[in-house]
Subunit: 400 residues, 2 copies
């Protein structure tokens, strides 16, 4: 797998992107509508939030994916179209119909995604104008990808993109993606939109399998604030244009799995790194658990400990908060078998403080926390960010 510098959703053959600003975000000139279009029918798959109040667009996509004929993804930021009842449903349908008309396909071949404030109806006149404009600007240049990446942002401070090149039996293929994150980032999908394109040939059903596996190890292993949103969506489209063929258990599976995992893993880390108010990345790596599920629960408890996240922000090697979170994770733990590292420094060995100072590693840009439970071979890693005053400021002032 080779990383493509400046790669994007347009690294794979067969896709175009366009963006427009139509005033949903209420900031003059800010992009808030994006279109990703495949030149021909693509196979498509998605994974979605488990929130009971799933947004209208999530329900629309869920009913249609996986599907062997998807042509476009329409995205708006600034309004989540969640908790908007029947009107929300109608607005999603209208969005799909308009994009279908513009693209020359059926409404069922259009996926829709929204992110932003909950509980407000979409301003459809603006959105429709935005979709038309975004369509008129569709292109395959790097600038087109960059515009789409910006258009899906909310409180993100920078656009997110990743792409890789690989090959199956000598036939090169590409996987590229973009995502937005920032707040409401938690288990079962970050509050997050992620769009991945590839030019492999793969059935929609198999694509769904690959996507679920990759999401489990990437997007479902991050946390910014423990809040799991109404709109979480990850969609992957495969144009088939590279000629490289992939099936779930057949040839090319391993190559595609690696490439997809690399792109989604990169996007997941970019989301955490750009968490609201985040100044650092925290990597919580648990091993020696009874099983993988226990390891994940322990890692998540530590990654979601407000107290440890504040300590990380303050460069404070307060390992007591790590141990405390392990202790309340709900997983049975033997203190005398438990060892904790912060970076290279062992701060807690088999139930006892070592007295060693981990101030150095706490000042790093990325803080690796290693936890060995000494109980088995289960392991899991969860990525999170620190908790700063800025997170509170952003979320106390977010306009409703």
């Amino acid at each position: 797998v080779d990383v493509i510098l400046d790669g994007s959703i347009l690294s794979a053959a067969g896709f175009r992107a366009g963006a427009a600003g139509c005033g949903i975000k209420k900031v003059e000139g800010e992009l808030d509508v994006a279109l990703i279009v495949c030149d021909g029918p693509a196979s498509g798959a998605g994974v979605f939030t488990t929130n009971s109040f799933a947004a209208a667009a999530v329900r629309w996509n869920r009913e249609r994916l996986p599907a062997d004929q998807i042509r476009a993804i329409a995205v708006n930021s600034g309004n989540a179209n969640a908790c908007t009842g029947e009107r929300g449903e109608r607005d999603v349908r209208r969005t799909a119909e308009l994009v279908a008309e513009l693209t020359g396909c059926a409404p069922d071949e259009v996926c829709v995604a929204s992110t932003g404030i909950i509980g407000h109806p979409l301003p459809m006149d603006r959105l429709e104008a935005g979709l038309r404009e975004a369509h008129s600007r569709l292109g395959a240049a790097e600038a087109d990808a960059r515009a789409a990446e910006r258009a899906i942002m909310t409180t993100d401070t920078r656009p997110k993109a990743a792409a890789v090149r690989s090959a199956i039996d000598g036939v090169p293929f590409h996987v590229g993606g973009t995502a937005k994150g920032a707040g409401m980032i938690a288990p079962h999908m970050a509050t997050m939109l992620a769009f991945v394109t590839t030019d492999v040939q793969v059935s929609a059903a198999d694509l769904r399998t690959f996507l679920s596996e990759a999401a489990e190890d990437t997007l479902n292993r991050i946390s910014v604030d423990g809040d799991s949103s109404t709109n979480d969506t990850a969609i992957v489209l495969a144009s088939g244009r590279s000629g490289a063929r992939v099936s779930a258990d057949g040839p090319g599976a391993e190559e595609f799995r690696c490439a997809l995992g690399a792109v989604m893993g990169s996007l997941a880390l970019q989301i955490v790194r750009d968490g609201e108010g985040a100044t650092k990345l925290i990597e919580v790596r648990v091993e020696g658990a009874a099983d993988a599920e226990s390891a994940h629960r322990v890692a998540r408890a530590v990654a979601e400990s407000q107290l440890f996240k504040c300590a990380a922000y303050g460069n404070d090697p307060n390992w007591g908060r790590i141990v405390c979170a392990i202790g309340y994770s709900g997983v049975p733990v033997q203190p005398e078998n438990t060892t904790v590292h912060i970076g290279p420094v062992c701060v807690f060995r088999r139930g006892m403080p070592t007295g060693d100072d981990a101030t150095g590693p706490m000042h790093e840009d990325t803080i690796p926390v290693g936890i060995d439970l000494g109980a088995g071979s289960g392991r899991a890693t969860v990525h999170t960010c620190d908790l700063s005053e800025e997170y509170v400021q952003i979320n106390a002032e977010y306009p409703t």
Copy 2:
């Protein structure tokens, strides 16, 4: 049940309290050791943290309570004596031995509690000096209670106390208590110490039953930050001095249950109101759940939503974050049956926004959030506080 103004742990007959400052807290002159002593043998019961890394003092008490002969509780703040291995065990034993010697009882009749930083050994020379001094100051005046209340504080900004007077068959009795909270306040006991005294006559086993019930409805129904500590402890001592007799299912049970619930409920609210950085109390009241457990899970998800807590801090009626938290609570919920109030304002009715503005209630000192799931008769209330920049500052700068 009559509330006693300026009541305390000394409102019940048979108790004395004393406090001292011995430098564990490292702030010149700040009180950090407290003793609560019963003039004769009291029955005692406790409930404790479920954290796997329970502190040495928690393990000491757990092995001894409930017990029909308890004479004293020794408390220090500034050091949790948690994750301190065998040395921590020895230090607890030494503490109990010294207090036993001073009080004229057996070490097994002494309860011990600690709160503060995790993973540092107790400075026993200082603690011993502090215990001796606190013992020399034992008294039953209001000032003695106030000193003990201050001595158990960590990041609390004010002491906490509550007391009530009631009667059983015309025989008056008292229940009084104190607590400390502030950070690491979460399910399964707030990070929190609570000490309650009463002058009813009750067996230790029955006292344990009353305490567990009361804790379930009070201390286990609050949250500041979702972190459940290594040291959570609630202990109640009954001197019997009032002559009022109580048994779990017999006479006086209802009166005592009410009185104990009133005191512990008041302490729980005082803890939340004084949560680290808190500017407001949030009361999340769920009804119409399939059962009480589901109601509790939904209430807790909302009460622990960082995003909603930030919105509360910012006076922002962002009900979308409430609905979102209901949706990811893990409890199956029908959006079309769900109704949400903020104060008196219905913001979401049967799955749809009402459009009504709840800015007014968000500016109040206490924000009541009412959630009706329309699915049954299960109900639960969880209290929490808002999340401010000050919480982050306190916890980024807490000294290790």
